[in-house]
């Protein structure tokens, strides 16, 4: 009850804060704060002269507010976004602002806006913030910083504007912003606010231009270097013919004359035209390295940061594997099971990262579906990389099943850290070095250590 009441007050506080920040300049907020402080101390006008300060600052703000009305904007704005961005990596983009008016616009400011939605109480209540243990008791129990963190995550990015600029009559200005995505997925841009300060420099006149666009943000990833995962090449029946020139066995072998029973799709039409006899393309059976990347989406702990790090680990492996010219099967389960195949003519690395950018955590135990899917492809894959969010009996059972089918399994277990957790290595008894603990607090270093551990078990 009290928490709900607090949450409602937070919403009011947040909206009031946003309204103030959108209306006042930084200096304006400072003067407003000073006016409130002077008002508090000047409540009894016979005790101090603080009411004089309050009166002065109050009327300064009032006059500035009065002068801030009436910004008739004729400017046009276009946004030039990159194709994609990566979480945590700042990216620059431009806003093209044109002034069709005869009047010069001086000291303008631009604020590009990302869609911001306020979470529901249920979302706020279910949220677990890994930073909470570092906060003080009051912040932790009241939860306002946690809520702000959640809003920031939902907004998905932080935009740093390029400062004030002037625009001559009929002129054009390229305004560069720096976007730092803080979250994978799609970033939704809603519009652009053009701001004009009042003569005192305290309050903005704003004009809003609706400009909806979206930008794909890939998950954060770590450079894993060269992975030397064990596992033999396996025959890839059918389907791999789409491969063109990679792999150690050139799949296109030669041309030969047509024999009865040859499929028509294998006719080489150019040779047929030249020779006037049907010529057939002969293929060699395809053998190549195919790896399975299993992403555990069952986030039983409710710690979203754990899952996000799991996705980042999956993205890091996807990049490392696809760049090493292997075929990668990404498997995860949500409401249903998903399997995506990348490399060698299938999905590209960008496609794979896009999928990982949009993958969602699941609140239900889906390990069985994941296990079935992995077992089905186990005959084609030479090694499985399992990104797990816990090392409980259910997950260990999954690993045991894969091991029983003779698969090599590399287990990456994401743990909150900072201390290393004691983990039971029984499911990977013959090569315990393939059980890697990646702590959230030391994510990059722990994940990079995987490349040192890989090699024949």
């Amino acid at each position: 009850m009290l928490k709900k009441l607090l949450f409602r007050n937070f919403r009011l506080l947040y909206k009031a804060g946003r309204a103030l920040r959108s209306r006042f300049t930084g200096n304006g907020l400072m003067i407003l704060t000073a006016a409130i402080t002077a008002g508090v101390f000047g409540f009894d006008t016979w005790q101090t002269l603080s009411h004089q300060v309050f009166s002065l600052l109050f009327f300064i703000i009032a006059v500035a507010l009065l002068c801030s009305f009436g910004f008739r904007n004729k400017l046009t704005v276009r946004r030039l976004l990159p194709d994609f961005a990566t979480a945590g990596q700042p990216v620059r983009y431009d806003l093209i602002i044109e002034n069709p008016d005869d009047r010069e616009q001086v000291e303008l400011e631009v604020e590009d806006q990302l869609q911001t939605t306020f979470p529901t109480y249920a979302e706020f209540h279910a949220l677990k913030d890994p930073m909470d243990h570092r906060r003080n008791w009051f912040d932790r129990s009241v939860g306002y910083p946690r809520l702000m963190n959640l809003i920031r995550q939902r907004r998905g990015g932080f935009i740093q504007s390029g400062g004030r600029f002037s625009l001559p009559a009929h002129g054009r200005h390229r305004y560069t912003c720096t976007l730092t995505p803080v979250h994978r997925g799609y970033l939704n841009f809603t519009g652009v606010r053009l701001l004009k300060p009042d003569p005192l420099g305290l309050v903005y006149s704003a004009s809003e231009i609706r400009l909806r666009e979206r930008l794909l943000v890939f998950p954060r990833h770590v450079n894993l270097g060269k992975l030397n995962l064990p596992g033999s090449r396996k025959y890839q029946p059918q389907g791999r013919v789409m491969s063109t020139s990679v792999g150690d066995s050139e799949e296109f072998l030669s041309l030969r004359e047509y024999r009865a029973g040859d499929p028509l799709k294998k006719i080489h039409w150019k040779s047929f035209a030249r020779l006037n006899i049907p010529v057939i393309k002969e293929y060699h059976d395809e053998y190549c390295v195919r790896q399975g990347l299993i992403l555990d989406t069952w986030n039983g702990s409710g710690d979203n940061g754990l899952f996000e790090d799991g996705v980042s680990a999956a993205a890091s492996f996807a990049i490392a594997c696809i760049r090493q010219d292997t075929i990668l099967d990404l498997m995860f389960a949500g409401e249903k099971s998903y399997r995506f195949n990348a490399g060698r003519g299938s999905l590209t690395l960008e496609n794979m990262l896009e999928i990982l950018a949009c993958v969602q955590a699941s609140n239900e135990d889906n390990l069985e579906a994941l296990q079935n899917m992995a077992v089905n492809v186990s005959s084609e894959c030479s090694v499985f990389i399992c990104i797990l969010l816990d090392w409980d009996a259910r997950r260990q059972s999954l690993i045991r099943t894969l091991r029983q089918r003779g698969m090599t399994v590399l287990c990456i277990v994401i743990t909150p850290g900072p201390a290393l957790t004691e983990m039971d290595t029984t499911p990977l008894l013959d090569h315990p070095q393939y059980l890697v603990q990646v702590r959230q607090t030391d994510f990059d270093r722990d994940l990079q250590s995987v490349s040192n551990r890989t090699g024949p078990p």
């Binding site: 006008t45 603080s50 004089q52 009166s55 009327f59 906060r135």
Partner: protein
Amino acid sequence: MSIIPETVWLPRAPVLLVPAGLLLWGWQTQQVIIAVLMALLLESARLHQWKLELDNTDFNRVTDFTSLVMVLTIVYMFYNYGSPGIFEILSSLPLVLFPMILAQQYSTRGNLNMSSLFISMRKLSDIDPWFTDNRIDISIPYFIICVIAASEGNRLPGIYFSLVCLLTAWLLWGIRSRRYHPLVWFMMLAIATGAAFAGQHGLRYLQGQLEARYIDFFNRFHSARRNEHRQTTAIGSIGTLKFSDRIVLRIEPDLPLQQPLYLAEASYNYYAYGTWTNIDQKSLVIDPELNGTSWLLSRSDSGHNRAAITAYFDDDEALLPVPQGTTGIHSLAAFQLERLNTDAIRVELKPGWNRWNVHYHDSIVTPSRPVHADLHIGQTYEEELKQLASDLGLYNLAPVQAVSMVENFFNENFRYSLTRKQRYPRGKYLSKFLFEDRKGHCEYFATATALLLRSAGIPTRYVVGYSVDEYSDFENRYVARARHAHSWVVAWIDERWIRIDTTPAVWADLESENRSSLQFISDFWSWLRLRSDELGDSEFVRNQDFTWIIAGLFLVLMLSIYRRKRAQLRSMRPGDSRTKAKVQGMDSPLYECIQRIEDMGYTRKPGETLYGWFKRLSKAFPQLMDSGIVELHNNYRFNPSTPVTPVDISDAAQRIPPLFSTRVR
């Protein structure tokens, strides 16, 4: 490491603005010399290039120190001044926050890290990638604090207002928008200043109007000082009366009290519409005895009872609560003592805790005789009261018997109540009490008794003060709380004033039922304040002590920063033996081994890494890399959690020189 770029909040204050703010503060709070010194210290930071290389940890220390001083100041000010201490805290802010602005001005960075101001941020800064420890320039906020703190001086409002306008214009000029002509800026500011001038007068007028309208309310609930000319009662008020548990008086009688001790503060003789007043406001100044601290109210009689009374006075003028039979007041540090016509004692003394001894009789001994006003009833109730007096047969009784009859009348027919739910027409409050409700608190009883006896021709006065009955085991003396405030009547019978209290005796118990369960905390706090005053010699001495405490803490801070800086400098000095052991891995045996290899003529090129050098040498000595000494050394030198020990390196190092010696041979 944060991924969001760092920004600096707030611009830097224009040149000389902060010193100007400090001087304004110094002028208003009469600390000109301190302000001038502070201003010079701040401004000199601009004039020379000497700066301190303070990092975030140093800033954290400075702000922690400031916070500590701030907390001490708050405790000290509230401890000594009570709630008005808030203004003392305000006036001391520029001084308390000075280390922060000083650190900023003398630092190479020129601004503070936000996490230095908020401890909770410090914990997040090293683990949360989305958290940015932004910087903040505190020069403008500090200037604003100086201006607001200066307002506490409350001197020359016209000049203060003009100076504040001037300084604000100075500040705003620097941050104005260049989009507009300066004339537009000037006009806007002029409009705002004009409106503010009228506005600040308007605020004072508004407060005056509010106070005039609700003066009764303020007097009744907020004023600590009793008004000797007027006492507004709660007669006719709706709701439940609530009084504070605050201890207002401490009484140490020579002998334990057998019955409640009545300490009178003031008495009144004219009643109308819920307010008692004194028409005659004459007073008589009583000269002290030769010792300067004793005043004799009756020279013929010294009184056979003794008691010491302690009370806190906010103001330098007060009505002294004393027993009504007081013959002399002793050991009172007062400048002047007056006896009012209504026998109240008014004193001029130093605000704060005061203690005095009284000599008194159980019976009332006062020289004043009744005046015409002591028989005044007023048209509102005259008819009803005379009828009641007639019904009670008071006209046929001797005054003493009449008093007994009245006491019996109230005792048998009335009960005590602090609650009134129904609103009555103005001027009918007492009628309703006497003839319908027959319940109320002491003000009803005392007023009705006084007027009823007057209607029977007996002069009476309405007296307010305290009824002391509670003994505090903790303090080992009697205490009177705010809720022990009481009113009663004195009647002129047989050429002397006698006390008549018709309020049912249960009143004290009923009022104590509402006491707070945390009363013991406020009692302890009150006792602590009293003790501190008893221990301290004077306010001046305490202020001096406080300044020394702050100066000592400042010294500790400076010393701590100096020690830290010295340690940093030492760590940068390679030859210092004191730093060698502290740097991780500097005691690696490989260094000695390297020296020996170099002595054999295999010199390391300038800038060549250890690994590169060994790799180069391994072309001639292939076994060199097999020793794994470089890996062991690097692990020991740069990995704090490594299990490698110097013994491991030493074992590997022993195998190296023989390799070279073989080649030499």
